[in-house]
Subunit: 296 residues, 2 copies
């Protein structure tokens, strides 16, 4: 009888509870969060067998503890976990930044850091919250494993194998490389999408503009519906890499602004052509490109 | 027996041929373009009954002429059309910018400008080209009608009614308002998506980064797979409005850069929160929001 405690029961924590239970990795789930209303949904939806607002209570009998709270809240959660964690129990997390989260685990778990292994599932949904939890969310998706000093190979391997049983594929890289890659292909795009919707929403003609938006805008801004606190924390904990990428992007936009202002069609076409070729060449795992209607 | 000539037989021109024929607005379609290979696909796919590389040949027997070429190529096409257009035949276009295209129609069609009415269908597809033409592309989508001086109300009405029969909904606005709105919600997002993919693709670690990209990146950059020439022309013909929006967006990014560099979580959260609320509140016509898997 394996017990799992999920600390922070949102879309990812909730989906993980469903997926790991379905895969037979755990038999019973206790969900922990500050809001009774969320815990009620978790229980009603069958995500959790039991619920609690106390981290200690959630952790004390658990064989596996998953930390799925916004990344800046993790150090405090790890500290609470370390006080109640059973010997031999395993702790993991699902945070989108690796260097800061691993440092938080090291600091919070202290001597129990050897019971920890990291994981970042590259999956999510437009609508957050445990109400949208889905046991198939990680099927064919990539989970990044970033082993680091002081972690036990057998604990890392346990977490990697568990994710595989839940349908995911494992990619291994250093925390540093992880944070650089995702600053480019995930964190920066989120900042850019939030910035565009925020900019338009602040205008007096916002509603007129937004009701005219088509499928292209919908796709471009889908990630701007993500949790603000989660993404604030990602920006703050992967600050250096995101700052660098944003600076480079602003330089790219400065050049495009000049090309537009100077009616430099050649320069615009060269940029668009290079982007188009690279974008069309992309094959996304488990997301076979098909004709999807977009905005003209 | 109504005949339609489609000048420029790509995704939009081809889909319009299928949709307008299905709706019974026209009985026969002749497709016109510079490439025999494209025209062959148009015929094989049933988009066109006949094909030609000559605008004059396409236009001379046509009752309806649709111009669906990149917007900077339109003036020349309108000039050619005016030489062969039957009295009483109607000309329309599908361009994404209105002020420049209407000016091009006025200049190219000359005294036959009274036979012209404009239309901009807010629809498209990730994959361009007549091979992906789809008679249902405009169903429940919006088509913008921008009547202007010198246009005949009955010609404008004919085009609006035809689009409605093809399943679309009509919104009427001035060319100026159209160009401002779409600079914000369509043209700027395309520039931003192209800029991001171009920036990443130029790096030495491009392939490593791009293969790690998840569904969020896929959605955010979908519009960067669009036709470079089409979008170059849109940037050049709606230059002022796009330039203004891009400048405002760069200012927004400058502020976010400062917030990230100063670890100003409050400012980041306020921006993300405002964007999230407005994005979640959006209902897209014929695109009922549902849980769509995205990048975490």
């Amino acid at each position: 009888m394996k017990k799992m405690a999920v600390i922070g029961c949102g879309l990812i924590g909730g989906s993980m509870a469903l997926a790991w239970k379905e895969a037979g990795i755990v038999d019973e789930v206790i969900a922990c969060g500050p809001h009774e209303s969320t815990l009620k949904i978790a229980k009603e939806k069958g995500v959790a067998d039991n619920t609690t607002t106390s981290v200690t209570e959630a952790v004390q009998d658990a064989d596996i503890v998953v930390v799925a709270v916004p990344v800046l809240a993790m150090e405090e959660v790890f500290t609470e976990i370390s006080k109640a964690l059973k010997p031999g129990a395993i702790v993991t997390d699902v945070g989108s930044t690796r260097k800061t989260v691993i440092a938080a685990a090291r600091k919070g778990l202290k001597e129990k850091f050897s019971q920890y292994a990291p994981g970042h599932p590259i999956a999510g949904g437009e609508l957050p919250g445990v109400a949208h939890a889905d046991g198939d969310l990680f099927k064919e998706k990539v989970v990044i494993s970033t082993p680091d000093d002081g972690m036990k190979p057998e604990v890392v391997e346990f977490i990697e194998e568990a994710w595989k049983k839940a349908g995911a594929k494992i990619k291994v890289m250093t925390p540093q490389v992880h944070d650089e890659i995702f600053a480019s292909v995930s964190h920066l795009p989120h900042v850019l999408a939030y910035a565009l919707v925020d900019m338009i929403a602040k205008e007096s003609s916002a509603q007129e503009k937004l009701t005219m938006a088509g499928a292209g805008f919908r796709d471009f801004t889908r990630i701007a519906a993500s949790s603000p606190v989660m993404w604030r924390d990602i920006c703050l904990t992967n600050r250096e890499a995101i700052s660098k990428e944003l600076r480079r992007y602003r330089h790219e936009l400065e050049e495009l602004q000049a090309a537009i202002d100077n009616s430099d069609g050649e320069k615009l076409e060269a940029c668009f052509e290079n982007a188009m070729k690279n974008r069309r060449g992309l094959v996304f795992p488990a997301n076979t490109p098909k004709q999807e209607k977009t905005n003209g």
